[in-house]
């Protein structure tokens, strides 16, 4: 389907917890400037795949390659913070992990830590007022301001992150991930707990991130309407195995997928679409 090497290439990813086989030889790819969704019933191993990609778990076997700018990163061998900083893969969490006592703006400035750290001469220069730290910080604030504006949180910039409403916290987490300047954004159930209007805004935001900023998105989501509407490609997992992979139209018609969803009686699953 695509001749050029994909942005993310997952091959034969297997994860065992003790005796439990959580993910079993899953292979899939995510293309540049595309939204790839991973769906499946609860417990299918979606978040576990994410945790491997972002370095929180070590895969038992398999290869995870992220290629961009002429470089290739073997994610399975990198510590998590370097995956974020060097391989430029950013993520959000299923149960939102902000820095709750810090302000919204501080959350976004922190996402630009690596750049700012370098600009501050690893603290030493900035401590005595040398180097271009002030300029770098202003640039960081500008980037933060851009994303705050984009997710509609500009008015809350100086509020504690914990004081935001739930939907706002979700969007702030996406803004924070975008401030790390990623090439691949991994979102773990970004629409969970959002109302219809908020989901609509999220859909527009994700489209914009892909089209205007050229950032690929890997998405775990249960909201099938959202997934079908915005995904370029869908990977379906069940019990740690891949059961389908392809464009939305093909996946929607796949009998194995329908069986998987109807079998679980998942109310927001395929049957509802």
């Amino acid at each position: 389907m695509n001749a050029s090497p994909p942005l993310l290439d997952v091959s034969n990813l297997t994860i065992r917890f003790g005796g439990l086989l959580a993910v079993d030889a899953v292979s899939f790819r995510a293309d540049d400037r595309a939204i790839t969704a991973i769906i499946g019933p609860n417990g299918a191993g979606k978040t576990t795949v994410f945790n491997c990609l972002t370095g929180f778990y070590r895969p038992s076997s398999g290869a995870l390659a992220l290629r961009h700018g002429g470089q290739s990163f073997a994610l399975e061998a990198m510590p998590d913070h370097r995956i974020a900083a060097e391989a430029r893969l950013a993520r959000t969490f299923q149960n939102i992990r902000l820095f709750p006592q810090m302000t919204v703006l501080e959350n976004l400035i922190l996402a630009q830590h690596r750049t700012l750290m370098r600009a501050s001469g690893y603290t030493i220069l900035a401590l005595v007022g040398l180097g271009g730290y002030a300029r770098a910080e202003r640039a960081a604030v500008e980037r933060a301001r851009f994303w705050l504006d984009r997710v509609g949180l500009l008015a809350h910039a100086d509020d504690e992150a914990a004081s935001l409403a739930y939907g706002d916290q979700r969007r702030l987490e996406i803004a924070r991930a975008m401030c790390t300047d990623p090439v691949l954004l991994c979102l773990d159930e970004p629409a969970a707990g959002l109302n219809a209007r908020e989901t609509g805004a999220l859909s527009a935001l994700l489209g914009e991130i892909r089209d205007d900023h050229g950032v690929a998105i890997l998405l775990i989501e249960h909201d099938m309407a959202l997934v079908m509407a915005i995904s370029d490609r869908i990977v379906v997992l069940e019990y740690g195995r891949k059961i389908a992979d392809g464009p939305p139209s093909a996946v929607r018609a796949d009998p194995a997928v329908i069986a998987a969803y109807l079998g679980t009686g998942d109310s927001d699953g395929m049957a509802a679409v």
Partner: protein, 304 residues
Amino acid sequence: MEYFLQQLINGITLGAIYGLIAIGYTMVYGIIGMINFAHGEIYMIGAFIALGTILAIGPVGAGAVVLAILLALLVAMMLTATYGWMLERVAYRPLRGAPRLAALISAIGMSILLQNYVQLTQGARVKTLQPLVAGGFTLMEHDGFEVSLSYMQILIVVATIALMTIFTLVITRTALGRAQRACEQDSTMAALVGINVDRTIALTFVMGAALAAVAGLMVTLYYGVIDFFIGFVAGIKAFTAAVFGGIGSIPGAILGGLLIGLIEAFWSGYFSIEYKDVAAFSILVLVLLFRPTGLLGRPEVEKV
């Protein structure tokens, strides 16, 4: 060989005492996820109460010794348990739900308070007690070096095994044990299904304190030397033992205690007695680095 055997016996005895204290750490850590920082002080208080009771009973004949020890055990366990209850009530319960550091500081405060309270009321001088249980077996003799196993050492090891068995049974077989395990896993959920979380936690402190009192009595009888400061170092070592064995596991606490006791005995016997505490601390560091879940602990998967 003889020397080795003697150190082995001494180490096991010492380790049994550490193990008894370690159970208190392991149970409290299991249920509230915090180090009971004042637990060492509770043990020290147990030792003083045991000393007081033995002195109150007065000199007894050989036949009544067992009775006297049982009485001292009972009194020490009950009164020390009251201290354990008070500790939880004053320093931990008001801070449930507060930042973890707050509870840690209040426990350190309590530890300082108790230490100085005992120093003030009982004096700073070392208390010595004539051995109540004398004698023992001579296991072997070689070149004038005797390997002996005293009755007291037998008593300590037997008591430890008995108590470990009883407490393991309590935790695995009784309603209290079920309530404890429920609170360990999820205290909110436990409360929802009708478990009195406050009382379960209080009882955990009480049980830990009662065992520390046993350790206190044993130390008083075995070494016959106590002062207000013994809780600090013994506390750290017992905590090390609890971590070593795998925090949350009662057999682990005993196993950890035995290993710490043996290491300390052999280290003092063969290397240097001055640095025996350094040996214990180094083990703590090594264990935490290479096997943070301890020998018998369950591995925990970081939830993201």
